[in-house]
């Protein structure tokens, strides 16, 4: 086979990968598309050249943007307008001409063929003949050949390929069932009748069309005429309209950098100048001056508009980025490696990631669109692929599993890629005893695992925006995302191969929380976020006591455990903390040595004296990606590019062989550099131990600053910061209920929703946080506005009746307002109000009889006189708000639990280490992080009315009680285990796990 064309339906998303794979296989790639014409008929388009590809992009953009999302249609007018550079083929059986023939409407088929010939010309329009062994194919193909003769057109032979091998038909059939919401047992016209849509060999095609060699020859001739239209890697960076008086973008960039350097450093020393010049040289040489200016400009916009932002990632390794105000970490003072960010040798596009206040990120995106124009800006797509859970859900439906069965399996299933499914079903205890026949389950798991990694749909990248110099539709068609944003048909990697530059405008809810806490504190408080001192003893004491729930990056159980042992004393310790709790350092067994050395309990030793300069600041432990690079270049004599390649191989978990190969090179060169072979091997083992994910120092520093400052806020402005966390949900590691318990533990009062006091958003008064309307389940923008505007217009509501007379709400919202206590201030029982409200509501409603209470209540009218029990109230509050206002469930059961010998989270610190206790609570985030031993250990916290108890379940306990630990829902758990004290933290090592209902009933 010498050439192959890709013709996906209405998209070219596969083009870049197809070109790369074809070239690797020595096959000429042809780019095309099977488009849906108006009326639903298919037509095949192939690009002859660049112009053809550009036209194809325009045709597809038009088809997608001018029709309903997901239902693109190409008009013949659009096709005729953009016909240059395209070959048009009459299409499969769903093409207009073949379908007319199949309906025996020969005359119309001839007329259409003649029309197409008139529009596209004989040299560009072809009759397409393919064999899929479907009923009627033989006569269809005979008729198509005849038609071509009559109208004087050439016909070509094609193969309608939908999968590579015959065996893949099954997966294709499953995918078709998923797409059309069909069960395997049901019929659907979209499902293929047979396995004939596989990639046939040239010989198979020859045999199949032996009686029609001319068609085959025409196909080869056509393929010869097509040129691959995409030149991968040719840069098409955005153009920045620099200010007058400057000769070029680089000139302007230099000016801005030096201006910024004066502000950042005061005096630009020769060292600073040398660093800036070196960076500018690389940036200009690689052609990224405009790119830096674009980023500088949008950061400037955000600053001007008061949109909180922070640069993250390896960009903080650049002094230029620092001087431009893009990042806030001084890489010169911190001795950060610019090469981790950019290098001439690597020549790769630098990634500048900026976090913006999540609620205002769209303003920045809008600015980019308005500045560079719609034609030059679009969002990057993501290829959403089938993962373990989504495959199980979808295949389950197709195979006729009931929704309950699917839910049971999917909720217990951890987030794993599809190829791991068979393994997790074999090993995870919570996936055993599912009460599903083994054979049936095996078929499901086996089939679902085969979908692993296959594309599911085109999604929108979280913040990736492309700005191009030439109109963007020259590179990719555009389509509408679910949110209505215009997206490219390529993902971030393909976009880079196309020579486009992506800018990540990310949203970080923590920045929104920071902004809110400043707003809650008010200008009178004197709180200045940028001026927060980095040496506040109270903040460090807070960290030392491991009291860090709510603090950015430092709140997970593992981080709390670390804080209690590390006892951070300065910002450097926070930087290390952020970097330590990562898979790399954890698996590399670096946490314990780091803590011991930091506290002076263990001597710091170096395998080679030269390592002291590199690892000195992290006590001889490899913590940052930059250190891997530096070791490779200092010890192994690697060039910066080689060293970075090593870092990439390690962090992206590439093949073992590749790692071994690099290891041998490293050891060989280290020995040449005077290192003993044994030491060189050991050094490389340490570097390998770091493999998989670790932070770069620049990123850790940027995050550590935010972590420390949020720690300062939570320590000194608790109501404001806990309120801000609640206002920016979902954010952080913990559910709302935990945040509320923690806030109350720190003396903050959580005030329930109130029709007279609540606002749309969280409000903070003194030491109290008022739960806003938006946190009530089912609440709508319209409902919130009608309550607030009526309150502003007619004054506060005097009673529930007054409220119901003045505000008309949907019955579900009304029910939820009552049940979460928003009318409690009027002194009427919630249940009574629900009952009254039902009558009022029906009197006012427009004939629609909707009941507000459960039908069973009607049978017992007297029940309305009594209030709900506390347990019922809390249960409703959990359903509606996600936490209890009236009480915490554990508070209700505390007396009973005490009787049964349970210890509360508050009392744990009084128990002797090694003693056995029983604890109960609501499980929070049970998870199985990577461990250095490779064994499965489950960590979770139990939340009660006083706080959290951290629990560790080792493999044996997990194997026995897995179904309670991961039941697929949040049910209160009881745990019996041994108290462990490490540093300033307590935790329980579980021996037995049981549902708390066992002891409560």
């Amino acid at each position: 086979m010498t050439s192959l064309a890709i013709t996906d339906h209405n998209n070219v998303s596969g083009a870049v990968r197809f070109i790369k794979a074809s070239r690797e296989a020595g096959i000429k790639p042809i780019i095309g598309c099977e488009v849906t014409m108006e009326g639903g008929f298919h037509l095949t388009l192939l690009c002859k050249n660049d112009a053809g590809y550009r036209n194809l992009c325009s045709i597809l953009t038009d088809a997608h943007l001018s029709n309903k999302r997901g239902q693109p249609e190409v008009s013949l007018t659009s096709l005729a307008l953009h016909k240059e550079g395209l070959f048009v083929l009459s299409g499969c059986r769903k093409g207009l001409i073949p379908s007319l023939i199949l309906q025996k409407r020969f005359k119309e088929a001839l007329e259409i063929a003649q029309d197409y010939k008139n529009v596209f010309g004989k040299e560009s329009f072809f009759i397409e003949v393919s064999e899929s062994l479907l009923p009627g194919s033989m006569s269809l193909n005979r008729n198509l050949w005849q038609l071509a003769d009559i109208v004087d057109l050439h016909s070509v032979v094609t193969n309608n390929v939908h999968y590579a091998e015959k065996e893949d038909f099954k997966i294709h059939d499953i995918l078709t069932c998923i797409r059309t919401s069909t069960k395997l047992e049901d019929v659907h016209p979209e499902r293929r009748l047979n396995r004939e849509n596989y990639l046939k060999t040239e010989m198979e095609m020859g045999i199949e069309h032996a009686d029609y060699c001319e068609g085959l020859h025409n196909s080869w001739a056509l393929a010869k005429e097509c040129e691959c239209p995409l030149e991968l890697g040719t840069p098409n960076f955005p153009a920045f309209d620099y200010y007058e008086g400057f000769s070029s973008a680089s000139h302007f960039l230099r000016h801005l950098v030096y201006l910024g350097a004066e502000q950042r450093y005061g005096k630009v020393t020769s060292d600073i100048k040398a660093r800036l010049d070196r960076e500018l040289n690389v940036i200009n040489h690689l052609g990224y001056a405009d790119y830096f200016l674009v980023v500088w400009d949008l950061v400037k916009f955000a600053t001007r508009c008061g949109i909180r932002h922070a640069g993250r990632g390896s960009a903080a390794d650049s002094a230029v980025a620092y001087c431009l105000g893009i990042t806030d970490v001084d890489p010169i003072a911190q001795n950060l490696l610019f090469e981790r960010f950019m290098s001439l040798e690597r020549g790769e596009k630098p990634d500048i990631d900026i976090d913006f206040d999540a609620r205002r990120r769209d303003e920045v995106t809008a600015y980019v669109y308005s500045k560079y124009g719609d034609e030059h800006v679009a969002s990057v797509a993501t290829y959403n692929t089938f993962q373990g859970r989504s495959s199980i859900r979808e295949v389950g439906k197709v195979m006729g599993y009931s929704p309950d069965e699917i839910d049971l399996i999917a909720k217990r299933l951890p987030h794993v890629p599809g190829y791991m499914l068979e393994n997790v079903f074999k090993t995870l205890p919570e996936l055993k005893n599912l009460d599903i026949p083994e054979k049936r389950l095996n078929v499901l798991v086996e089939t679902a695992s085969k979908l692993s990694g296959l594309p599911r749909y085109l999604g929108t990248h979280l913040g990736g925006v492309v700005i191009s110099r030439n109109p963007i539709t020259q590179f990719s068609p555009l389509e509408k995302s679910a949110k209505g944003v215009k997206i490219l048909q390529f993902d971030k990697d393909d976009v880079e191969d196309l020579g486009l530059v992506k800018i990540d405008l990310l949203s970080l809810r923590t920045l929104g929380a920071v902004e809110d806490s400043l707003r809650f504190a008010g200008t009178g408080s004197g709180l200045d976020y940028d001026g927060i001192p980095l040496d506040d003893p109270d903040t460090f004491n807070r960290l030392k006591s491991a009291d860090t729930v709510g603090i950015f990056q430092l709140e997970s159980p593992a981080q709390r455990g670390l804080q209690g042992r590390l006892e951070a004393e300065n910002i450097e310790d926070v930087v290390a903390s952020v970097a330590l709790i990562r898979p790399g350092p954890i698996k590399g067994n670096m946490v314990e040595p780091f803590i011991k050395r930091r506290k002076g309990e263990e001597e710091v030793k170096y395998l080679d004296p030269r390592l002291e300069g590199i690892l000195g600041k992290t006590y001889g432990v490899i913590l940052f990606q930059e250190q891997v690079i530096e070791i490779a270049s200092t010890i192994g004599g690697f060039t910066p590019g080689e060293a970075d390649n090593l870092r990439r191989t390690m962090t992206h978990g590439r093949s073992v062989e590749e790692m071994e190969k690099i290891g041998e090179t490293f050891i060989e060169r280290a020995v040449q550099n005077g290192v003993q072979e044994e030491a060189a091997r050991e050094i490389f083992e340490c570097m390998k131990g770091y493999a998989s994910y670790g932070f770069c120092e620049a990123h850790a520093r940027a995050f550590a600053t935010t972590a420390y400052k949020t720690g300062y806020l939570i320590q000194h402005y608790p109501a404001e910061f806990y309120g801000a966390i609640l206002n920016n949900q979902p954010m952080g590691f913990y559910p709302v209920s935990t945040v509320c318990v923690e806030a109350e533990r720190h003396g903050v009062e959580i005030l329930g929703p109130s029709v007279n006091q609540s606002e749309k958003e969280v409000s903070v008064k003194g030491n109290g946080i008022r739960i806003p309307f938006k946190m009530i389940k089912g609440m709508t923008e319209r409902a919130m506005e009608s309550i607030i505007s009526e309150r502003e217009k007619g004054g506060k509501f005097s009673s529930a009746n007054d409220f119901m007379k003045r505000v008309k709400l949907d019955k579900d919202i009304m029910r939820n307002l009552i049940l979460c206590g928003a009318f409690d201030e009027f002194g009427v029982f919630r249940r009574t109000l629900l009952w009254q409200c039902k009558d009022l509501y029906l009197a006012d409603s427009s004939g629609q009889k909707e009941t507000l209470v459960e039908p069973s209540y009607y049978e017992y009218p007297n029940i309305s006189e009594a209030e709900f029990s506390l347990e019922e109230k809390v249960s409703y509050e959990y359903e509606i708000l996600g936490f209890g206002i009236s009480a915490h469930p554990m508070e209700i059961w505390r007396d009973k639990l005490k009787e049964k010998g349970f210890t509360s989270s508050q009392e744990i610190c009084m128990v002797k280490a090694g003693d056995f206790v029983k604890v109960g609570g609501i499980p929070v985030r049970p998870h199985r992080p990577p461990t250095k031993s490779g064994r499965t250990v489950v960590f979770l916290s139990l939340e009660d009315e006083c706080g959290l108890v951290d629990v560790t379940c080792f493999e044996q306990v997990y194997a026995k009680y897995g179904e309670f630990l991961f039941p697929g829902e949040r049910l209160p758990l009881g745990i019996w285990g041994q108290v462990q004290k490490r540093g300033n933290t307590f935790s329980i090592v579980a021996k037995t796990v049981f549902p708390l209902s066992y002891v409560l009933s």
Binding site: L133, L134, P135, G136, S137, M138, S139, F169, K170, D173, L184, R192, L193, N194, R195, E196, M399, V443
Partner: protein, 79 residues
């Protein structure tokens, strides 16, 4: 009108294609293959793939026969 038979028949094959089959005590020659298609059927129930032929018999009858990679069967006879 057609009648579903779905019975195994003795088939003479040349190059994998049907040539004549034995039906009601006599041989029917395949004069022409009018149509040919394949069906994967209920693959999830391990049903075998079938290749169908609609053929014109030498005596003028129209038949639908199939091969399921094991047996040849006469599926339908058309009046």
């Amino acid at each position: 009108m057609s009648k579903v038979i779905d019975q195994p028949v003795l088939m003479v094959v040349e190059d994998g294609e049907p040539k004549r089959f034995f039906w009601i005590k006599k041989w029917v020659n395949v004069k022409d293959v009018v149509d040919k298609w394949s069906e994967s059927g209920r693959w999830w129930d391990e049903e075998r793939e079938k290749t169908f032929y609609r053929v014109l018999g030498g005596e003028g009858g129209v038949y639908e026969i199939y091969f399921d990679n094991k047996h040849w069967k006469l599926y339908k006879v058309f009046d």
